[in-house]
């Protein structure tokens, strides 16, 4: 059973529709108790970093997520802003984030149109269970003005080019996240979601927090 975190600034329904289409059992969580009892968790997002963290805090979900994912080891997938909030800090609104992965979230440098909107190539730089069955280059759908810069290179699972090379899939132990919208990346994105449904939370390339 996958639990999708449903907070005010999120887009939980898109993820739920995708999981339903795949025939995967899922529910949404709006309370700390629902997060704490989750077997595995998806944190989706479309929003701004500060609005996302404020919504999560206001709903009492930050401590519950940390308890269940970092202390409890539940498999976790962050999507889009759900990747960015995992790091220490985001330049977007000068926002302190969850700090599960060391690193910062920075705005794309000038030169390309910002935000990046569209389908871009994602290339894995190391094996990861969520990439099982996917090609060495998969076009996925991005909508972002900011991107993560992990301090630890082993936390970079895949990269993408936009002006320069950035981390488009991050992973550390039972925590994984995609900067692109896996739920909106067609058949390849759906494959990532179905891989997540059966993932045991181990990552051969990176130990747990």
């Amino acid at each position: 059973m996958i639990t999708v975190v449903d907070y005010r600034a999120g887009n939980a329904p898109s993820v739920v529709y995708a999981l339903e289409h795949l025939g995967l059992a899922c529910r949404t969580a709006t309370t700390a108790a629902e997060v704490e009892s989750a077997e595995r968790l998806i944190l989706p997002g479309v929003g701004a970093a500060r609005a996302t963290l404020d919504s999560l805090r206001d709903a009492g979900l930050v401590d519950a997520l940390t308890e269940r994912v970092i202390a409890g080891g539940a498999p976790f997938l962050g999507i889009c802003i759900g990747l960015q909030v995992l790091f220490d800090h985001s330049e977007e609104g000068d926002t302190d984030c969850l700090g599960w992965l060391p690193g910062r979230v920075r705005r794309f440098p000038p030169g390309e149109r910002i935000p990046q909107i569209g389908w871009n190539a994602v290339r894995p730089v190391r094996p990861h269970p969520l990439w099982d069955g996917l090609p060495d280059e998969a076009h996925c759908y991005f909508v972002n003005s900011y991107h993560a810069v992990p301090d630890d290179g082993t936390h970079v699972v895949a990269t993408t080019e936009y002006g320069s090379t950035f981390c488009s899939v991050a992973g550390r132990g039972n925590v994984a996240a995609t900067q692109f919208h896996a739920e909106k990346s067609g058949r390849l994105g759906l494959r990532i979601l179905s891989n997540f449904a059966t993932w045991d939370g181990t990552d051969p390339g990176s130990a747990r927090c």
């Binding site: 005010r8 600034a9 939980a12 929003g47 149109r113 909508v143 003005s145």
Partner: protein
């Protein structure tokens, strides 16, 4: 490399996709849900859904149809029509959209753009514009004026002034709908599309007039657009023969315009 997008546009009335010419004479095409499923299977890059009578009728957007489409579409889905404020934006996102398109309401209340960008990030807020060539005159230095309410009402706003203001307020993408070219299959208005693309740093979407693959390629090259909205070419009953998404993308590839690669199987 970021690829260019081929975007299907749905002008929806009562849950059904319709097709207009110059924003008038809408004829029926298909239920929105059915057409969405067909285009998703055909690997369309994105779907834009406009509830085209919501704004003029001053009623909320048809969320039930939005939900029915969202359940079947696992590519980006932008929704617009009748968005009056943050509550409407929340409702649309909760119905399964990830971008919100604002058009006439943004002209009436530009702060709605800022409110949306602050609440959801600017990447969530699409400013859609209806522009018409009126000639250079006082207050319209670009020669293109912004219209609202299904191209019926002139605003006195210059198209380039308005898109720059929209970007400043927080719009993350600008759609340039040419009223003159809408449904005519005579090609995008490349002049205003390119002028908007030069005026702003956010992605620009060409809309109105695509009748051939060459038109789409032109919008994405000479027009400077990051994405091209198509509708007639895909499904207008006025066309003798519609093209599939795959045919369009093969044509774009031959013209040197990269799009998301086709997936076999």
């Amino acid at each position: 490399m970021l690829t260019r997008r081929v975007v299907a546009c749905f002008d929806v009335i009562d849950g059904r996709v319709t097709k207009a010419q110059r924003f008038q004479d809408n004829i029926d095409v298909a239920p929105a849900e059915d057409l969405a499923q067909r285009l998703y299977a055909d690997q369309i890059d994105e779907i834009v859904f406009y509830d085209i009578t919501a704004s003029a009728q001053k009623r909320p957007i048809d969320l039930e149809t939005v939900r029915r489409v969202a359940r079947h579409v696992f590519v980006p889905f932008t929704v617009g029509g009748g968005i009056r404020g943050l509550d409407d934006m929340f409702a649309v996102l909760k119905a399964g959209a990830e971008k919100i398109s604002i058009d006439s309401m943004a002209v009436r209340n530009p702060e709605i753009i800022r409110d949306g960008a602050e609440a959801f990030g600017r990447q969530c807020v699409v400013l859609s514009t209806q522009v018409k060539r009126v000639g250079v005159r006082d207050g319209i230095p670009s020669g293109y004026e912004v219209f609202v309410d299904g191209a019926r009402v002139a605003t006195g706003l210059d198209a380039l002034d308005w898109v720059r203001r929209g970007e400043d307020l927080g719009a993350g993408e600008i759609v340039v709908n040419s009223i003159d070219r809408d449904g005519t299959a005579s090609g995008y208005d490349v002049e205003i599309t390119a002028a908007v693309a030069a005026a702003v740093n956010v992605p620009v979407v060409a809309s109105g007039g695509a009748g051939t693959v060459e038109h789409i390629a032109e919008g994405l090259t000479a027009g400077g657009a990051s994405a091209a909205i198509v509708s007639s070419i895909l499904y207008s009953p006025r066309f003798e023969r519609n093209l599939t998404v795959r045919e369009i993308k093969e044509g774009l590839a031959a013209a040197g315009v990269p799009t998301r690669p086709w997936l076999d199987g």
